[in-house]
Amino acid sequence: MKAPLLELEGVHTHIGAYHILHGVDLKVGHGELTVLLGRNGAGKTTTLRTIMGLWHASSGGVRFEGEDIHARTTPEIARLGIAYVPENMGIFADLTVRENMLLAARSAKRIDDIDSKRLDWIFGLFPALRRFWQHPAGLLSGGQKQMMAVARAIIEPRQLLLIDEPSKGLAPAIIQNMIVAFRELKQKETSILLVEQNFNFARQLGDQVAVMDGGRIVHTGSMAELAGDEGLQQRLLGLSLAAHQ
Amino acid sequence: MVHHLFSGDFPRSRVLLVVLLAIVLGLVLTPFAFPGAKALNVAAKICIFIVLVSSFDLLLGYTGIVSFAHTMFFGIGAYGVAIALTHMGPTWSAVAAGIGAALVLSLALSLVIGLFSLRVKALFYAMITLAVAAAFQTLASQLSDLTGGEDGLTFRVPEMLSPGFMLSQHPFLGVSLDGRLISFYLLVTVTMVLFLIMLRIVNSPFGRVLQAIRENEFRAEALGYRTVIYRTWSNMLSAVFATLAGALLALWLRYNGPDTSLSFEIMIDILLMVVIGGMGTLYGSVVGATLFIITQNYLQDLMKVASNAANGIPLLRDLVSPDRWLLWLGILFVLSVYRFPAGIVGKLRAKALRPS
């Protein structure tokens, strides 16, 4: 069995005096989409930030392709092939959509250097981006910003995407676009670790699921298993499905 | 009783204790041990700066606020006394009036500035205080009718303090008992009293809360302390002591001008003294002020020797030229900020804690 692409083992993270992660164990396999579920404050965002090196794990191991990255700097981690879409999207509001995308394409010195086929594919997934190419990103609607944030993460091939609540506040039509995008990405051998509160969105995509509570992983398993077991859902997520729409 | 007098805040290092005792004795005995006007002036300046730098330590070391407007309060105190004595004649009531007015102005300004500091980040606050101090200095030199403009004010002090006054015709132990001597001992006494009061303040519950705020404001708020109130009080108290130091300066010099008390150079000197001596210790101000002022006035002689010795190598000679004493103190300052945040006092105390 191939080693997992990403592996967290007993990760503790402290922020100042606060102990947020209490020994997180997590695995993401190649070409898989793993969903990280949990209530607000469970530690999901902290987990992503720790992987990305924005916060450092105080103990435990974070391994990417077998290599320990817990002490690496954020730019180094990004250059290993990990892309991060934070909860606040990290949009550069004063820059145009074009400039945002150019920034995300590390190997491109100018916009023409970007693989046009890839760009067309992205425009196909998110048509609004083509339309507002020259507009300052700050003027886009919430949904369009979210699309751009994801588009930035995939403008160049990456091995792992860390995405934090992409569906929050989005219209159903746009969520559909996202689902299509993620499915296509999985086909291209990109792995995704998706933090979500919207279970309905997550279940359409996820291969594996991990549930977090109080800074710990309290359940791992396949999505199919969790999706089929309402009792399990209630116990883990505390609320019934309907509340997660 | 000693415990009470020093508010339980002892030097906590034998070396430091010796140093402090030496400084105190040196100051008290200056007229007898180091005769001459220069030594007396240096000692007086040390006293005044002990008060001034301690008041700055209260703000920077204990509360964690960097303000470049400190010389403004120093100047207010000095000008208060200067203006009062110039316009009301050399009487004690004029002195009282001058100090009183200065304190009122300082309290008002420090209240405003203090409240303002809470609304902006530390960097902005530092910039703004820089601008305010510069503006105030300009103001002082523009209001020539009141402040004597660029030339400043020269005035006479109450009779008992003036040089012509003789307490007794017979000199005591070779030192003439004139107004100058009385002035000096007034200075020394007031300095010690003010210092001990500040020591009391920083060791009181109030002082501890200040330190808690400096360490972690968020947590202090969470614990229920209204940091607004504490920081404002710290600003005001610090201003009060700086103002009093200014009053002492004016009384000693019998002169005050924009450069005597308001110049940016003085602000830098204060900063150097408090950091090199040791922030957040108050004793650091004593050590720092003494070290700095003695260096400023006497090291030059030492450096002159070194400079002459290095005469053959022009660059070296210029580096140790007595005029470049500030270069070495500046380097010491940078190193202190970087590596010894608790300054000389901190180092000595740390050494004392280590088992020998």
């Binding site: 700097t73 991060y84 400039e99 920034l103 | 960097l123 270069l327 300052f333 940078v334 900020v337």
Partner: protein, 340 residues
Amino acid sequence: MNSSAATSPVLDALPEVKPDRLPLLLLPVLALVALPLTGSFSTWVTLTFAGLAMGMIIFIIASGLTLVFGLMDVLNFGHGVFITLGAFLATSVFGRMSGWAESDSLYRNLVAMLPAMLVAMAVTGVVGFAFERLIIRPVYGQPLKQIMITMGGMIVGVELIKVFWGAQAIPLPLPTAFRGSLLFGEAAVEKYRLVAVLVGLTVFAAMHWVLSRTKVGLLIRAGVQDREMVESLGYRIGRLFVGVFIAGSALAGLGGVMWGLYQQIVTPEMGSQVNVLLFIVIIIGGMGSVGGCFIGALLVGLVSNYTGFLAPKVALFSNILLMVIVLLWRPRGLYSVGNR
């Protein structure tokens, strides 16, 4: 800025993107207000050019400071040391080329001035590199220490300047071709001031070009807004910062040369004297915005010269008043940048 055929009116409801030109209007407004106050047109022309020249020099100096703050939240209280260093270097270069500076040929004068500028920029750039490494890097993220140590850096720097050049003021006469004034009707405009304006515009144009047309510039603009995200995209913003700091120091050195020539005298205190003015300018402009710094610097230059003529006593206060007025209008400066 183009709207192609709409598939849905809702999605195309984005407004036309108009760049925010309002602050730029402040300049002609201010100038026009000053016109009746100064009385004579020719005086006004002289003052305005003096103000623009001074503003340009301040811009050259302050631009580095604002970018460095915008990018890394580092406020270099010791920025003045580069100004002073640049100016003193110019005296040395001019000292060696005094024949060329004194000659009547414009060509020779330029050849004397260009090396001065280049040497100043090169040396201050190198010193900037050392400054960043020794003084600033150890205290990233600690604003209190930053304030103190950068100030300490300036003290040490100025003392070292005195070691090399002495503690006295050194005159820095203008090359002959740049002395005197050009007459436009009755208005006299000093030649050097025109030069300063040209140099300033060139620097601004160059900076604008780098920022808007190169990837490095893009990184800087993005980094000013959201440093963390730029790092998450894989860029080592630490290195970028060093580069910006060096460039800022070099520009301050250039500004020092121009400032020294403007006053025709160079003193060790000249750097710390403009500290307050620099802070006022970058606050007015908005921390991190080069365009804002440009307009802010010109405003300060104009205000200083107009009030210097009309009411000399309130010169410093007028700049503080200007800052207050601008902040009342736009609390974060003329162009606010970033997520502060």
